[in-house]
Amino acid sequence: MVLWLVSAALLLRHRDGGPRAGAALRRALRPALAMLLYVVLGRVLAGSGAAAALAAAAVAGLGPLAPYAITPMGLLSGMITGSNVGSNAALMPVQAGLGQAAGLPAALAPGLHNFAGGAGAGMSVGVLALICGLLADGTRPGQIWRLLLPSMALVVGLGSLAVWLLR
């Protein structure tokens, strides 16, 4: 509400405030629809118990190493869904369930998934497509990903360290 009120007040200063607002809202339509679908998907998986079953299977399969899967899964989820909203809506129920099943403190798995998913979203398929499109010089996402490998390794390393320290 505050964000909308401040934005509206600032838009009123512009002669073309109306068209600017219209263009911004039109730009928001498609991401809004994607967000809605992501959240409904997350709710169906969480509410039915499917997410909890997947988390329990991960814990049973990986044993004591299961919590160390949270960060790489979060990073991957962010890189594929392309946003923190998408990453959290798609995998947060599974990750929170994994944390619960592994006996971690309540906020640890969600917090680490949020960190890694957010980091992954910044290096995601969608964002890289946007950057390569703006560059328009033939640069491929794979070239940029190779340069970002140290950054990805840091995310996984720090997330694993956090699991080790805070569990």
Binding site: A32, R43, N114, L166
Partner: protein, 307 residues
């Protein structure tokens, strides 16, 4: 077989998005169709599938309202404050490259989200000739091979505070889905994120050197101090203030410091005028959070429990 059915929606989603065969909307629709049998085999005995699906669609639509409103609001704010022109072309220096990528990009990302910070950073880098498409014409310095990829990787350093980007709608939603207060989720995320910020220094310097702008020892020390300040501010802001403004408060002061070093303002009043909308938004958000028990429509348990 049951486990495969339960995993299928996520596998399809990841496969379709990862392969580029579908966009977020199409991939999510396919995953939703696959989620119906997954729910059917997962629901406790006696729970009717149609009633469950109807309730979860309603609940999901309500939960999505907040992030949708924040994203749309962020775009409105961006439309209100963005100028018409691109940043003026300037020679590349290590201080300028640092200022436009990490603090400036992260600040814009914290306010508006949506990779706006990276887009701005890339535009500013190209204004300095990094990853620009002149390919060394007109006497300009020839670009090293892969200059576009290096510019892209540098621009993406703007997206190091995504959990707080656009005032953190993803963090708020994730907390609701996990059933944990959002402030706690943000606090846990802040610790490794702060360490990541500091350790990004050498990554940034390596990329800067590849772009033909090596970072000297003294400049590295100052940049490390700025990254350390941003990390400390991120932790402190999450500990003491609403998490929504933590990204702005972590990157804002460091941005002023970085810009002052890179391009000291000739006109302080004009510089303050340019910063005024951001200061106004931050002040209004902080003031709004002082209003406890503000009226709100929260029909579902998770939306009541996890603020």
């Amino acid at each position: 077989m049951t486990l495969l059915l339960q995993a299928l929606p996520l596998l399809l989603l990841l496969l379709l998005l990862g392969s580029g065969r579908a966009g977020p909307v199409g991939a999510c629709l396919v995953a939703l169709v696959a989620a119906v049998p997954a729910a059917l085999v997962s629901l406790p005995a006696g729970t009717a599938l149609p009633g469950f699906l109807a309730m979860e669609v309603l609940r999901g639509a309500f939960l999505a309202l907040q992030p949708v409103a924040v994203v749309a609001g962020g775009l409105l704010f961006h439309a209100a404050v963005s100028g018409d022109g691109a940043p003026a072309p300037r020679p590349a220096t290590a201080a300028r490259v640092f200022a436009v990528t990490l603090p400036m990009g992260a600040f814009l990302e914290s306010v508006t989200g949506f990779a706006v910070g990276a887009v701005f950073a890339l535009t500013a880098l190209r204004g300095m000739g990094i990853g620009a498409d002149d390919h060394g014409r007109d006497g300009a310095r020839p670009h090293p091979p892969g200059s576009g990829a290096v510019a892209g990787a540098l621009a993406l350093q703007a997206l190091v505070l995504v959990p707080w980007g656009g005032l953190g709608p993803g963090t708020a939603l994730g907390a609701v889905l996990a059933g944990v207060p959002a402030q706690q989720v943000a606090m846990v995320a802040a610790w490794p994120n702060a360490a990541w910020l500091v350790l990004m220094g050498p990554v940034l310097w390596g990329l800067s050197a590849r772009a033909g702008v090596p970072v000297a020892g003294r400049e590295r020390a100052v940049q490390l101090a700025m990254l350390g300040s941003m990390a400390t501010l991120l932790i402190l802001a999450n500990l003491t203030l609403p998490f929504e403004v933590a990204g702005i408060l972590a990157s804002g002061p460091v941005l002023v410091w970085a810009l002052w070093r890179a391009d000291p303002p000739r006109d302080l009043v004009a510089a303050l005028g340019a910063a005024a909308p951001y200061l106004l938004l931050t002040a209004c958000l902080l003031l709004a959070r002082l209003w406890r028990d503000a009226p709100a429509f929260r029909p579902f348990a998770e939306s009541r429990a996890c603020r």
